[in-house]
């Protein structure tokens, strides 16, 4: 499009001013502050609207007076002339009228948008409008900034996109740190997911195994049932148990008895014991005899002889005594017959003695008679000793009696042998005999005493027969005793054998064993009694209840059952709690939520990053695409501007370079200020031409070449003039133009 007229109603310093433009090169000149820039901005505002926001950097060009804000332009586009008007800053009204048919366009916005095409305000500013500031700025650029600026050249609006890309990248980087220890939100989120997973795993593994819990419960249940059946059994047996109560002590005792029985040694073989007893009895029977001292065989033998001798003596004595008695009797008879008191004796000296003797003899005779009587009695009574004694006394008395007589008589008798007539002579004979007897008796007596003494150990004053008997007894006894001894020894031998057979050490041991056996028998007997008492009661049952009353065992069972029921209840509670425990499900859902969050955020980050990459890639390729054309054209313009001093621009590599006529590559930084400006302008112009191939809009150059020297200036103007054949150029300057152009002098226009 080409602008023909610009009519400003109110904009900045302009009021009701009109400017006409040529289709080619226009030069608007005026000193500083004359409104060049304002006019420039007006044209832009007509096309793109007024600045909406007020701000520090935004100049809204508000009219000083309360005038109408806005204006109109008349332009030609594709052969048709239009009038475009915009009035009002904030709520501006756009009107476009087709001047050919004077029809106001129904949809001016759309028409304008279409007309302008992809060239939005920014692009327009970037491509079709440039000023001194831009130019100056390039010198302060660092190489990559210059490249960036060139990119901006090649792609107007790319700055914004670069910024967007950077922002996206920055946002993503803020969200998601690249290092392992990064703590940005995404990193944290990922860690949260991980932690939540682990926590959940822990929850799951921390649970008890359901299967084992259930198994435990089943086991407990069977145990309970077992206990219950036991309890039932127990209760069923309760009355039996009660009945058996009284049997308890019996059982207790029985047990003690049986225990003791077990502790007793084996019973002795009764037969052997009996034999032993018999033997022992036999031994016992004989034993008392052991205590008697029996005479030895020699003693017996001797005694036997003595007794024999004594018997002889005794007999003799008896004979003698008898004889004596007979003699005495006879004497007495005689005496009696004669009436003699004493023996008539030769009266001699013996007479005297005889005087006395008759008294004595009379006493003696009395005594003797008494003694003899007693002796006989004793003999009869077998009081042999007594008899013996009295006999002896008697005899001694007799003896004495006779002796006195006999002495007298002897004296007399010796003188006179027995011539006498019978009685006296008999008497003398008798007396002699008596005296002989007496003497014999007296002889015998000590012998007999001695013998008797020897037999004293058998007995005293016994008759020989008695002695004999006794001796025989002794003998028998000895024999018996020997027999007994032998027997005893035999018996003892038997005893020992029996003991051995009984496996008993000795009799003491045997006694002990017998006691034990006795005990055993007793205990056994007791056992039987007790067992009978127990009757048919089951011992085990009784034993179980031993020491407890039926109530107690019931209580124990109940306690056990309660405990098991308790355990079952505990497990049931646990199972119930587990069954209703939503904790893990909650954790799962929370984890899924976290994962969804992580997914969402990750997606955003990826979108941001990929968007940024895409922007950058697109910018690069576009620049890359555009660059050749632009470079070609730029080269052309640059060569022209530098009078072919620089004919090539090299865009390969990071930095832009120019090749001088000698083929020398020179970095842009190394260029002089002026040359760099020229390069910049060349490139901008080149780009604008490329863009305006699609959309032809006027180029608005705002005094960009002030510090060019004359030659460069002139070349620039030449270039512009050349371009203006197809391109409308409105050149704002402070210098009065000395070239061929439509000139608008703002001085005069004031």
């Amino acid at each position: 499009m080409k602008i023909e007229t610009a009519s400003v109603r109110g904009f900045g310093q302009w009021h009701d001013r009109e400017f006409d433009f040529a289709t080619g090169l226009n030069a608007i000149y005026g000193p500083n502050g004359s409104g060049k820039t304002t006019l420039h901005q007006f044209i832009v505002a007509m096309l793109y609207g007024f600045p909406q926001k007020r701000g520090n950097r935004v100049n809204t060009y508000q009219a000083a007076e309360q005038d109408v804000y806005g204006g109109k332009i008349i332009f030609e586009h594709q052969g048709v002339r239009y009038e475009l008007s915009r009035f009002g800053r904030t709520k501006s009204e756009l009107k476009i009228t087709n001047l050919v048919n004077q029809q106001e366009l129904a949809d001016p916005e759309n028409f304008l948008a279409e007309l302008l095409g992809p060239i939005d305000r920014e692009t327009f500013e970037a491509v079709f409008s440039f000023n001194q500031t831009d130019l100056l700025a390039i010198f302060s650029l660092k190489p990559d900034e210059f490249a960036k600026r060139l990119r901006q050249l090649a792609m107007p609006g790319s700055d914004k996109w670069v910024q967007i890309a950077n922002d996206l990248e920055q946002t993503a980087a803020n969200e998601f740190g690249a290092t392992k220890t990064a703590k940005r939100p995404m990193n944290q989120l990922l860690k949260q997911v991980d932690d939540a997973k682990q926590a959940m795993q822990k929850l799951i593994t921390g649970q008890p195994l359901t299967a084992s819990l259930l198994q435990e419960r089943t086991d407990l249940q069977s145990r309970l049932e077992q206990l219950q059946s036991t309890a039932a059994t127990v209760r069923a047996d309760e009355h039996v148990t009660l009945a058996n109560q009284h049997l308890l002590p019996v059982l207790q005792r029985l047990e003690i008895v049986e225990e003791r029985l077990t502790k007793l040694p084996v019973m002795l073989d009764q037969q052997l014991v009996n034999e032993y007893d018999a033997v022992t009895a036999k031994i016992a029977v004989q034993t008392p005899n052991e205590n008697d001292e029996l005479p030895s065989a020699a003693a017996i033998g001797q005694a036997s002889d003595v007794i024999a001798q004594l018997a002889i003596n005794d007999r003799e004595q008896k004979l003698l005594v008898q004889r004596q008695l007979d003699l005495q009797a006879e004497r007495q008879h005689i005496m009696t017959q004669h009436g003699w008191q004493t023996v008539p004796v030769a009266t001699t000296e013996q007479g005297a003695s005889t005087v006395t003797t008759p008294v004595l003899s009379k006493v003696m005779w009395a005594l003797a008679g008494l003694a003899l009587v007693v002796a006989v009695v004793g003999l009869l009574g077998q009081q042999t000793l007594l008899a013996g004694i009295f006999m002896l006394v008697g005899l001694i008395s007799v003896g004495v009696g006779f002796q006195s007589r006999n002495q007298a008589q002897t004296a007399s008798s010796e003188q006179q042998p027995m011539t006498d007539n019978s009685d006296e002579g008999r008497l003398k004979q008798l007396d002699q005999s008596i005296t002989e007897n007496n003497a014999r008796l007296q002889e015998l007596m000590p012998k007999m005493s001695e013998l008797r003494e020897q037999l004293a150990w058998i007995g005293r004053d016994l008759s020989p027969e008695s002695y004999q008997q006794k001796l025989a007894n002794f003998q028998a006894e000895v024999t018996t005793r020997n027999q007994q001894r032998t027997q005893l020894a035999q018996l003892r031998g038997q005893q020992a054998t029996l003991l051995a057979q009984l496996v008993v050490k000795d009799s003491t041991d045997l006694t002990i064993r017998r006691q034990a056996d006795e005990q055993r028998r007793n205990l056994h007997h007791e056992q039987q009694t007790l067992t009978e008492q127990l009757g048919g009661a089951d011992r085990n049952v009784l034993r179980e209840t031993l020491g407890k009353t039926p109530q107690t065992s019931d209580v124990e069972l109940n306690t056990a059952m309660n405990q098991v029921q308790q355990e079952i209840a505990t497990i049931d509670v646990r199972l119930e709690r587990l069954a209703n425990d939503g904790q893990i499900q909650q954790a799962k859902q929370k984890l899924a939520d976290l994962q969804a969050e992580a997914s969402f955020e990750l997606q955003n980050i990826l979108v941001e990053r990929l968007a940024a990459q895409w922007i950058n890639a697109t910018l690069s390729t576009t620049i890359g695409d555009r660059l050749p054309d632009m470079l070609r054209l730029s080269q052309q313009y640059f060569a022209f501007l530098t009078n072919n001093r620089y004919q090539q621009i090299d865009s390969h590599g990071k930095q832009l370079q120019v090749i001088d006529q000698n083929g020398q590559a020179i970095k842009v930084i190394e260029l002089s200020k002026g040359t760099a400006e020229q390069l910049y302008v060349a490139m901008r112009l080149a780009f604008s031409q490329i863009v305006s191939a699609n959309v032809n809009l006027p180029l608005l150059i705002d005094d960009a070449f002030v510090d060019f020297d004359a030659e460069r200036y002139e070349r620039m103007i030449d270039l512009l003039a050349g371009l203006s054949e197809d391109q409308q150029i409105i050149y704002f300057t402070i210098k009065a133009p000395k070239f061929d152009a439509k000139v608008i002098d703002l001085n005069t226009a004031r």
């Binding site: 929850l203 259930l214 939520d593 969804a596 979108v607 697109t618």
Partner: protein, 400 residues
Amino acid sequence: MKFIHAGDIHLGNPFLGLRNLPNWVQNIVQDAGNTAFRRLIADAIAEQVDFVLLPGDLFNSNEVDAQIELTVLKAFDELRAASITVFLSFGNHDYLASKRVDFPWPSNVHLFDESVTTMQLTTKAGESVAISGFSYGQQHIETAMIDQFPVKQTGSKYHLGMYHGELGRAGSGNYAPFALTAMNEKHYDYWALGHIHLRQTLQTEPFIGYSGNLQGLNKNESGDKGYYLVTDQNGQLIPTFVAVAPIIWAEEELEIPMNLATNELVAYIRKSIQGDSENFSLINLRIISDDARVLSLIANGQLQAQLAQSSQTRDPWYIWQISLKELQKTVQLPHLPVDAWDNNVTEIFTLDNMQAAGLKQVHDPELLDEFLNDEKLTEIMDMVKVKLQLLGKDVSLDEN
């Protein structure tokens, strides 16, 4: 004869894709799976079915906890008390359960092991039924297990097949690939399939199909969810769908009137939501609007946050996601010619580039699984386009 076909119950699996749920929604969501399952059990007992067929994925073996185990045991025990048999085979998610020997399954539960076996049953009406099936012993099965199924014998009135897998050729599939022809060759009366979570009929007579899962767990499992109640109708076993899921995933579109004030936006949306007549809805709301403010509120998550805040525990729905209804596919990327953008698409949008852009720092297997595929890549590309478009608009918005 009456039975239930319910595959892929996935007890204990959480809902996917939900972020920042308010607590009351969290609670509803947590219990949904169990609720659906309990409804199934209650229905089985009420209908006095003869048996229940569960062709795989009753739960995820590596995430089973005591509550799930006890729930299952209790439920099966209730079935046992009602004289209902359970035929249970394990799929690719619960194959580990097939190896447990100590689990105290009630006596009415019959498990299938890794080789194809046929079990017999007599129904309450006295009909003899044969049921063939198999369990997974590991995560993948590449063989066509269908080949090991026996042909229907004359002894049984009905012969049913339980099969956890998907269509495919042997050797080129990980889930016991099968072909319909192979199934038909067995002359069974009904094939209870499992593995696909969407209710799907592959063949009507005899029926070969998937019952789908009992409760949808992500936005792709939308609509009513439940089980099949199968009855004999004129000699054919016909499944009737019964819905049990307490939560329905739904998508609703809503056009926002222009110039609706920002502070009225939430109220307007709330008023306009339809939801489901019987159950709780998780709604993916697609906004149709050109209003830049609205777009901005959506893009920055503010609208979502406002809606979440204003949600009430009495609401029979909850908007879990707000997005713009798809802008035109050929997104106008601003300022530069379209082909300039297009030239770089293939370079930028690659899996490798995604990795480089940050995915490589992610170790979580589920996340990686979700992102490292082409669908996600395309999704991200679309989102990038939308974002650039919005940013481009921002750019132009700034200028006025």
